[in-house]
């Protein structure tokens, strides 16, 4: 068993980054995720593993530093929160277009605008449908515990390199700020070789030059590139869907929730079962690719779905697309940093489906 620690989610990400052999972190402070960079600064990763840490002048600079490092095959990452992630959208679209592997963490807070620093899940659309321009997708992981905050860092890097695609960890103020027990994995070595088929580490005589670009002025070629990207996303849909089922097998009603709201719903399921209501929880772990099939298959059996989000209703669209009209899909959300309580969710479940 690995080392046990009590850590904040943000700290777990930072420690996991060092242990995952991350080569470089570039970031800009913003609540509620500044502990990521602060933890790294205190740890002096350049002494522990040689990892680079730089506080950039802005989120835009940070994402473009990630672009540079990732283009050389390094494991690079950045983290921010909602307004900062909005600023990175052009950079993210470029990373996706240039097929660069990297890790982007969004510890979501309430919007729109400056909004509130309270936790929220209102950046789901931005993360999963593409807040930037063009047809691209991020692979989006939604941790629901501090343990997952740690574990999804190496997983995220692995997936990023597997698909040469940016991976986003979509977390929120709750998961980022809470402390839980974490079992830390062993230090992994940093990469020492770089895939010479695409990385720009200096053209050696034994190969052609490598180019990192997302540009093609020829529409026909550009379309081909877009189809290749779509094929890649299709592969992700086939191979990378991850979710957790809690008491779904005999459920009449399934709650669908991810991240912190899944934690709340977990308790709602307990409370519901105590009352004799057969509730279950389906927790998407990957938001893209979305667990469409499993939801669709439950749609044939259950009486209804209730989607719970810390937003005014975003993931619910993907749930509806999965259910495709087979049964009722209801939504309940709180926003602006307000958190629904487990019994509040139970009440909604009863009202919407059982009549209360």
């Amino acid at each position: 068993m690995g080392e046990l620690r009590l850590m904040k989610g943000n700290e777990a990400i930072a420690e996991a980054a060092i242990r995952a052999g991350c080569d470089a972190y570039f970031g800009y402070p913003i609540t509620p995720q500044s502990e990521v960079m602060e933890y790294l600064a205190a740890e002096e990763p350049h002494k522990r593993t040689g990892m680079v840490l730089l506080q950039a002048e802005s989120e835009i600079a940070a994402i473009n530093m990630v672009y540079g490092a990732a283009g050389t095959g390094k494991k690079a990452m950045t983290s921010s929160s909602s307004p900062g992630i909005s600023l990175k959208q052009e950079g993210i679209s470029y990373l996706a277009g240039s097929e660069l592997p990297c890790l982007i963490v969004n510890v979501v807070r309430g919007g729109p605008g400056l909004g509130t620093i309270g936790p929220a899940q209102s950046d789901y659309f931005q993360a999963t449908k593409g807040g930037g321009h063009g047809d691209y997708r991020l692979l989006v992981l939604a941790p629901a515990s501090v343990q997952e905050m740690a574990d999804f860092v190496p997983l995220g890097f692995d997936l990023a390199f597997k698909y040469r695609n940016p991976v986003m960890i979509l977390s929120d103020g709750i998961i980022g700020q809470m402390m839980e027990k974490v079992e830390l994995f062993e230090q992994r070595p940093r990469n020492t070789t770089f895939d010479q088929s695409w990385t720009t580490t200096g053209k050696t005589p034994d190969r052609e030059r490598n180019i990192i670009t997302s540009l093609d002025l020829d529409p026909a070629k550009m379309e081909l590139h877009n189809r290749d990207l779509q094929a890649k996303y299709q592969k992700m849909k086939e191979n990378e869907v991850r979710f957790e089922e809690i008491e779904c097998s005999d459920a009449d009603y399934i709650l669908v929730a991810y991240g912190s709201s899944a934690r709340i719903c977990q308790k709602t399921v307990k409370l519901a079962r105590q009352k004799g209501i057969k509730a279950g929880l389906l927790r998407p772990i990957t938001l893209f690719p979305f667990p469409t099939d499993i939801i669709n298959s439950y749609a044939q059996k259950v009486k209804g779905f209730l989607t719970i989000e810390l937003s005014m209703g975003q993931m619910v669209e993907d749930v509806r697309l999965a259910v495709n009209g087979l049964v009722k899909v209801e939504f309940y959300g709180r926003s602006g940093g307000v958190i629904p309580s487990p019994d509040e969710v139970l009440k909604v479940l009863e009202q919407k489906f059982i009549g209360g």
Binding site: V52, I60, V66, A70, G71, T201, G202
Partner: protein, 260 residues
């Protein structure tokens, strides 16, 4: 002596560097981009550092630099080349990293990235092509468009009371503690090309010293954007651009030698 007798391998004194690909340059006739491309590639060839060099292409007419420069390159978002260069150089402190940027790229949308990379003293080379206009997008005003100069967004000449003053970025970066070498050059005459090459060479050599940022501005032309023939454009450049952007080294070995 007949011409044929001179054109012999043993008499060869100047030939296009092999580090330029065979692909014809996409630039308009007479455009200074071509000259600077060649100078940079000659220097990399002469320093024999291809396998340790990563170049960064901006958004601008030189967006396709990677099609012509036979080295590893990254094409990056408009204005962000200095940040990207930082990302690379921090991970690969012993490699040579340079950005190649236009005036819109470096001095408008990329102002912040330029200032901060220079201020931090990133150990990179920044090649800055100032042609006083946005060439690629069709000749709009650039931050460096000089007062009275026409462009497609200042069709009656730049009126500084409406569109603000030109920005002399090189004059600013001279004052930053992170810059080690700052120079302004031109490539419209053979004499200037030779001087520009010297400055660019120093800007690459400096990376070995790890003392900070090397920044070379090239005052250049844009015949298409300026709506002139190349010959007219170079004359206009000499008579209008250079008085406004005087040439010469401005900071050498970390010491200011000439203020803007």
């Amino acid at each position: 002596m007949d011409v044929k007798d001179i054109i012999r391998d043993e008499n060869l004194v100047y030939k296009r560097t092999k580090l330029l690909t065979d692909k014809p340059l996409s630039y308009c006739p007479g455009c200074g981009h071509g000259v600077v491309h060649r100078l940079v590639m000659e220097i990399i060839e002469e320093m024999d550092i291809v396998s340790d060099t990563i170049g960064i292409a901006p958004v601008g007419c030189s967006v396709l630099a990677y099609e012509f420069m036979d080295i590893d390159m990254q094409q990056v978002p408009h204005g962000r080349a200095p940040a990207t260069a930082t990302g690379i150089k921090r991970c690969w402190p012993d490699k040579f990293v340079f950005t190649y940027q236009g005036d819109g790229d470096l001095a408008a949308i990329g102002t912040s990235e330029t200032i901060h990379a220079c201020n931090r003293g990133e150990n990179i080379t920044i090649v800055f092509i100032n042609n006083g206009i946005y060439g690629m997008t069709g000749g709009q005003m650039a931050p460096t468009t000089i007062p009275g100069m026409r462009s497609s967004t200042t069709p009656y000449g730049r009126d500084t009371s409406l569109m603000g003053n030109p920005l002399k970025m090189t004059d600013l970066v001279v004052h930053l503690p992170g810059t080690y070498f700052v120079s302004r050059q031109a490539v419209h005459t053979a004499v200037n090309v030779r001087k520009a090459k010297k400055a660019l060479r120093m800007a690459f050599e400096n990376q070995k010293l790890k003392k900070g940022t090397s920044f070379v501005e090239i005052v250049s032309n844009c015949p298409s954007g300026w709506k002139m023939t190349p010959v007219q454009a170079n004359k206009w450049l000499e008579e209008n651009m250079i008085p406004f952007y005087p040439l010469g080294d401005m900071k050498v070995n970390g010491e200011i030698v000439k203020q803007g």
